[in-house]
């Protein structure tokens, strides 16, 4: 048994290739210069609130809050804010601020570190800002996972909507590139392996299946067939890829994060509105997929993110309900 799919009513994203969805779509359809680090431009992180509600917020919180606010602005919700839930997932959380708090301990002593660094170093800081800025008074949850956090967040959002705990759920992922992560990550990879590290935030405003919207999203079922499968690359093909007409990845544009699936899902959604597939074709070895470029492959109605570790996998199925305007 699985939950009914949710409807995607709004999208918000802050990525290394932009914040405006049409700009992102354009950037992920063309070639990109290989890079080791893909960061979000500071220009995208200006406080969008008239109340200067982000004046104390750091980079982690700003990325999350801006993407969440953008997603909810598109959702056109007029109901009670007590019926709007929030789920924020992150692998590494606000680790930049966490290390800043450790700087305070090391430089000034345990009793003298700054309280604002501590309060912003906890995983829930982003959700707290988002709830405050949007006056969200339904359930608010922060989760952490290095692999499948976004998939699990979508599943729980589907549960909340199916049970009518919420009428809307803002669900998203945020990852920040801090200096410790940048320096440690290459040392954790096998010799000779490299991939670009990324950061950013992707949020969706979800409603129940009946709410219409741009697309339906379902992470509660096992990997199903789709026209487009979206994978991390390079990835360990520990499990066979689901059958699909085409395979793409968006990792070269967004970089790799613990919440990769959120960015891959964004790429899939933006592909719905284009006559040709976005992203970078994937070498599908050893899975037997048709080679990219088959006739008609640009028009797709279903996309499946697929992420795998050595012993498990998770997927998100996105189904187009109408074309973007």
């Amino acid at each position: 048994m699985s939950c009914p799919p949710a409807s995607i009513l709004g999208i918000g994203a802050v990525t290394p290739v932009g914040r405006d969805l049409s700009t992102i779509a354009e950037r992920i359809s063309g070639p990109i210069e290989p890079a080791e680090i893909l960061r979000v431009s500071d220009d995208l992180l200006a406080d969008p609130t008239s109340s200067r509600g982000l004046r104390r917020a750091d980079r982690f919180v700003r990325m999350a809050a801006i993407a969440a606010i953008d997603s909810f602005a598109n959702a056109d919700f007029k109901g009670s804010m007590e019926r709007v839930g929030l789920i924020v997932t992150s692998g590494f959380g606000p680790h930049g601020r966490g290390f800043k708090f450790l700087d305070g301990i090391l430089d000034c002593g345990d009793a003298e570190a700054l309280p604002t660094d501590f309060s912003h170093s906890v995983h829930g800081a982003a959700a707290s800002y988002i709830a405050g800025l949007l006056d969200l008074r339904g359930p608010s949850l922060s989760t952490t996972d290095f692999l499948f956090g976004f998939e699990q967040a979508i599943v729980l959002a589907q549960c909340w909507l199916a049970e009518r705990t919420c009428e809307r759920v803002i669900v998203g992922a945020v990852e920040e590139l801090g200096k410790v992560l940048i320096e440690c990550a290459p040392r954790l990879l096998p010799a000779g392996k490299t991939f670009p590290l990324g950061e950013g935030a992707v949020f969706f405003a979800l409603g129940p299946e009946s709410a219409g919207g741009i697309a339906k999203i379902d992470a509660s079922a096992q990997a199903a067939a789709a026209e487009l499968v979206i994978v991390d690359e390079p990835m360990i093909f520990a499990k066979p890829l689901p059958q699909a007409k085409s395979a793409r990845t968006f990792s070269p544009y967004f970089g790799h994060t613990a919440s990769n699936s959120a960015f891959q899902a964004l790429g899939g959604l933006l592909s719905f509105s284009n006559a040709r597939l976005l992203g970078s074709p994937v070498s599908t070895r050893p899975s037997p997929l048709p080679s990219p470029g088959v006739p008609g492959e640009g028009v797709i109605d279903t996309a499946l993110t697929f992420r795998t570790s050595c012993d498990s996998s998770a997927s998100i199925l996105i189904t187009k309900t109408r074309r973007y305007q």
């Binding site: 708090f101 090391l106 608010s140 949850l141 549960c159």
Partner: protein, 393 residues
């Protein structure tokens, strides 16, 4: 929405109050708090803490480096034993939802100190941290592959983990869910709460006139939740249900609760409504009761408003300290034990009624009767959650 019952098939607890249910009840019966006057590590801070002194299970490989994970596994083993489950069999319909705070952060000061000094430190602390995502690690250790959520909602994490697991069961995604919270004492968390000015240099005194802040503690509380059909299918029985869950955000402040407890009020009402229960059917409340000025004032107002001036409630933090991500799991367990044993302990640390709180916790061992009891949690970020537990007679 009509829901099938969610049964509580097993409970395991470990905290400074005891390494299992039996020891915990003995501590509660004595009514004596036993904080340690010293921290278990070097620090420039001096304050009482509540430490677990029991032997913890040895775990394979890097898992053994996480004290939070070892605390969780100790409580889980007790819960599995009570549930009559000796092992799981690789099923995909068994979920794991565990709340934590410390295990979600790379708070390794020696590693970071060496990193800052360009000493190129070994990455073992990073690898240990990557291995210690609690829900994933528990799932991997048990060999189960259902949904996994590590919830980092600060002090309400354990309660919210129970709520997430209940949602999985209510919607049919799982047959069984392992849920609760686990957290270890950590130098960084102690410095953090000290920096906020909410740590007491004396043993904590929840809801008391002279309350001066919290004491941190460590522990784990794990519940095994099971669908009605699965419990029947394996021929097991339970007398307790997770009857209701509610969560709501204050949308007010990063660290302080809403002064009128807006979100907590909504969370309690949601949990009651989900079970179709009125406030006068609730026999007692295990309150969050951290002993900070703001928490206890806001929570006291809400409990009086919802349940009336004669409400019976306790804070068990005088026995365990504030165990952060573990608190919700532990206190849901203590709530179940109150219903089971038909008594609740005195609120350790409480002595004098507070002028700013309209009600007072029980200050002696108190017999209780009734079918329902509630546990509440408030947290950083304005999160509030409540679980309603039912004893089926």
């Amino acid at each position: 929405m009509k829901r099938s019952p969610v049964w509580i098939a097993g409970l395991g607890v470990v905290s400074a109050a005891g390494g299992n249910v039996r020891q915990t009840l003995a501590s509660f019966a004595e009514g004596i708090a036993n904080p340690s006057p010293r921290l278990p590590f070097e620090s420039g801070i001096s304050c009482p803490t509540f430490q677990v002194r029991d032997e913890l299970p040895a775990l394979p490989g890097r898992y053994n480096q996480s004290r939070s994970l070892r605390l969780a596994m100790k409580a889980l083993r007790e819960a599995m034993e009570e549930a009559g489950i000796s092992r799981f069999y690789g099923e995909t319909r068994i979920g794991v939802a565990i709340g934590t705070t410390v295990a979600s952060q790379l708070n390794n000061i020696p590693f970071y100190d060496a990193y800052r000094r360009n000493l190129n430190p070994p990455l073992d602390p990073v690898l240990d941290y990557l291995s210690a995502n609690l829900a994933h690690a528990v799932g991997d250790i048990l060999g189960i592959t259902g949904p996994r959520l590590t919830i980092v909602n600060a002090c309400s994490s354990g309660t919210d983990a129970l709520g997430a697991a209940k949602h999985w069961l209510d919607t049919g995604l799982c047959d069984v869910a392992i849920a609760g919270g686990a957290d270890e004492l950590n130098r960084v968390a102690i410095a953090g709460f000290w920096s906020l000015g909410v740590t007491s240099a004396q043993p904590c005194a929840p809801f008391d006139r002279d309350r001066a802040g919290l004491n941190l503690g460590e522990g784990a509380g794990i519940l095994i939740l099971e669908s009605d059909s699965h419990l029947r299918r394996r021929g097991a029985k339970s007398a307790f249900q997770l009857a209701g869950f509610g969560a709501a955000c204050d949308a007010h402040h990063l660290t302080a609760p809403h002064p009128e407890g807006r979100g907590l009020n909504a969370a309690i009402n949601e949990a009651l409504a989900q079970a179709g229960v009125s406030p006068n059917q609730v026999s007692f409340i295990n309150a969050h009761g951290t002993a900070t000025a703001d928490n206890d004032r806001a929570e006291g107002k809400v409990l009086e408003r919802v349940f009336g001036p004669a409400v019976q409630f306790i804070s068990t933090k005088g026995y365990t300290g504030h165990t952060l991500g573990a608190a919700g799991g532990l206190e849901a367990g203590f709530t179940l034990l109150g219903l089971r044993e038909k008594w609740i302990p005195r609120s350790a640390g409480f002595a004098n009624n507070a002028d700013d709180i309209p009600i007072a916790p029980v200050n002696r061992r108190t017999d209780i009767s009734g079918e329902y009891a509630m546990s509440t949690s408030l947290a950083f970020g304005g999160n509030n959650s409540a679980v309603l537990i039912r004893r089926v007679t």
